[in-house]
């Protein structure tokens, strides 16, 4: 299947640089932003960036037809590119120039094809045109959505939902969240995810009842989801009781994201 590319001067302008980075296997950061700019404001942006991050060499191009600003950062990893994008956003917000989202990407962390990555980023921006003025990390959609495993996180703690949700999304899972047992159960019936990560201390429906209901739904639908408990409860009796309810994993807070991911992988592999 051939991919259609939205035409943009940024692609032409960055083409030779991207070829160079790819040929010499050097990392580079790419930032694109949906913004309205004129030449003086582009010059001000350049001056702002040179002042804030003087050690970073960058290329800048503005596609006036599509209102897309492109920046190419020399020898930068994804983390730094993302941080650099915060400077760009500060400037654009301050000047009231940002009209849509910003996307950050990195070669080779996001893609092994630098030019293709830029094309996809521009395509997403031109075609999807999201109004939300936020920064998003480019998600290389080489993994088809159907191949991704889905995870439902049920926890009243927003810190857990944010941290774990973002982490698992970055690891290629489709993440759904619910903040209490009742909503969790509704989500579960609708989605039948591959894995449920739940707290035991839940409102609406208690944790044990929630697990019990899931097992009942599985029985009726002939489906099967693995259940992982992630909880503050550390008592031996709670752990024992949870396993008696048919839970596959029990992790206590505070927890290691690496350990949790390894356990998720193991569970999902067993299911496959």
């Amino acid at each position: 299947m051939t991919e259609t590319h939205a035409s943009s001067s940024i692609r032409q302008s960055f083409k030779q640089f991207l070829h160079y980075y790819q040929a010499s296997n050097l990392p580079c950061g790419v930032i694109i932003a949906h913004a309205t700019l004129d030449q003086p404001s582009i010059n001000s942006l350049k001056a702002h960036l040179e002042k804030e991050e003087p050690a970073t060499a960058f290329q800048i191009n503005y596609d006036a037809q599509n209102n897309i600003l492109g920046l190419l950062l020399d020898d930068c990893n994804l983390g730094y590119t993302h941080f650099y994008a915060l400077h760009v956003k500060d400037f654009l917000d301050g000047e009231d120039r940002l009209i849509g989202e910003m996307i950050v990407g990195n070669f080779p962390e996001n893609s092994d094809q630098a030019e293709q990555m830029l094309s996809r980023m521009i395509n997403e921006m031109v075609i999807d045109q999201r109004n939300q003025q936020e920064i998003r990390v480019f998600d290389n959609q080489t993994i088809k959505k159907t191949e991704k495993n889905s995870v439902l996180i049920v926890d009243h703690d927003t810190s857990i939902i944010h941290l774990l949700g973002n982490y698992l999304q970055r690891k290629g899972y489709i993440v759904h969240v619910a903040t209490d047992g009742k909503k969790g159960l509704e989500q579960y019936k609708k989605l039948l995810p591959d894995l449920v990560i739940t707290e035991i201390n839940l409102s609406g429906i208690g944790g044990y009842q929630f697990i019990h209901e899931i097992k009942n739904i599985d029985k009726q639908s002939n489906g099967h989801s693995e259940i992982m408990v992630l909880t503050n409860k550390q008592l031996e009796d709670d752990i024992k009781r949870t396993f008696e309810y048919g839970v596959a994993e029990y992790i206590t807070k505070p927890f290691s994201l690496i350990e949790l991911e390894a356990r998720i992988k193991r569970l999902v592999e067993v299911m496959e």
Binding site: I135, S159, L163, P254, S256
Partner: protein, 388 residues
């Protein structure tokens, strides 16, 4: 009459004034809370992109950078409210990364200043946050704060922070001794506070076993239960014969967790005078699937203490074919009347449970084996075979 009426008017007027004062006070407190919440929300909205950056890049090799502008105290407070719960919920490299970031943002300095505040509530709040930030430079200040504070619930917060920040096991040892001697906290809570430390406290807990102080002995026994190195000191066995029941239970629990029991020991503890210990052992055998001790449960299932008897039956039901066969023997009355009813109950429950959880061929095989054993003792039962 006139005087009384005038006095009543005055009274009403005073009450009205008081009501207005209290109402305006309540309203102003409410208003200031709403304003402060709105201010906080707006400030957090400004950090939205930055917080997203932190969440996404938390797992990358690159260090997390502080915001690209200098922060005011209020902004630090708002960021602290979001970042510290993350620190509390994570461990390992991600927590370390966040701690480095918090220091770079200036949260340690911000809280150290607050630790000098004239207001005790502010100092306590700062102590709590410095504990989460694992700031090693404030441990001695926290220790003096602990010694100065009144014996109220604030001690628990300060003690937890000391355990989180301390670099020396001896400091934790002194902390535990102080809490044991000066507070009425439950020993499990004190042991829990000490476990907030990232230090290896094995030597501290072992040293408590040799103290002539029963509370410290108990903390030693509780603390050792979580230790990775399970070589249990010989002295633990002497606590099994202590005069104090809780100490006896904790000692056997520790031996159990460390798997430091021979078959002879298990046999001995299943007939121990304390029913709690007999019950604990019976439960442990079933829960841990220790099939080598299955036969030993024949005795406790027949005892008069119904809790121990039921726990033993439950464990036998968890111990495969041999456990099930023992239940059938007991239910058939081969070993007498004691334990017969409870064995019957658990046989029925186990068979029903096996039918309900059919999902693999293995489950059907397991069920067939159980039915075979059952029929050996009781003959055919139509309702059980019909389920197949």
């Amino acid at each position: 009459m006139f005087i009384n009426l005038q006095a009543a008017y005055w009274m009403i007027a005073i009450l009205l004034i008081l009501m207005i004062i209290f109402m305006s006070l309540t309203l102003s407190i409410k208003m200031s809370k709403i304003i402060s919440a709105k201010k906080e929300k707006d400030c957090l909205a400004n950090f939205h992109s930055y917080l997203y950056y932190l969440q996404v890049e938390l797992d990358n090799e690159a260090m997390l950078r502080p915001p690209n502008k200098s922060l005011r105290s209020f902004e630090k407070k708002v960021l602290q409210k979001t970042l510290l719960p993350w620190v509390e919920r994570l461990k390992g490299v991600h927590r370390e990364k966040l701690l480095i970031l918090c220091e770079a943002i200036g949260l340690n300095e911000y809280n150290k200043k607050r630790l000098q505040s004239p207001w005790s509530i502010v100092r306590l709040d700062a102590a709590y946050h410095l504990g989460i930030l694992r700031d090693k430079e404030v441990t001695s200040q926290l220790i003096s704060m602990l010694h100065r504070s009144n014996f109220d619930s604030s001690i628990c917060i300060i003690a937890r922070s000391i355990a989180q920040t301390s670099e020396y096991p001896n400091e934790i040892k002194n902390l535990i001794q102080y809490l044991v001697n000066n507070t009425k906290y439950h020993l499990h809570l004190i042991a829990d506070i000490s476990k907030e430390s990232s230090l290896d406290l094995r030597s501290v807990y072992i040293s408590f076993l040799y103290e002539d102080h029963s509370k410290l002995n108990k903390i030693g026994l509780i603390g050792l239960q979580d230790q990775v190195d399970q070589n249990i000191p010989e002295t633990v066995r002497s606590f099994v014969h202590s005069d104090d029941k809780e100490t006896r239970i904790l000692a056997v629990q520790l031996l159990m967790f460390a798997m430091d029991l021979t078959e002879k020991d298990v046999h001995y503890y299943l007939q121990f005078p304390d029913w709690e210990i007999r019950n604990m052992l019976a439960d442990w055998i079933g829960y841990s699937g220790l099939t080598q001790y299955t036969g030993l449960l024949k005795v406790p299932i027949q005892e008069s203490n119904w809790i121990v008897s039921r726990t033993s039956a439950k464990s036998l039901a968890q111990l495969g074919e041999y456990g099930f066969e023992i239940l059938c023997e007991l239910a058939a009355g081969i070993h007498g009347e004691q334990g017969r009813e409870v064995a019957k109950e658990y046989i029925d429950e186990k068979l029903k449970q096996t039918i309900n959880t059919f999902s693999h061929v293995d489950d059907i095989t397991e069920y067939n084996q159980k039915i075979f054993i059952y029929q050996k003792f009781f003959g055919k039962r139509h309702d059980l075979t019909k389920a197949l």
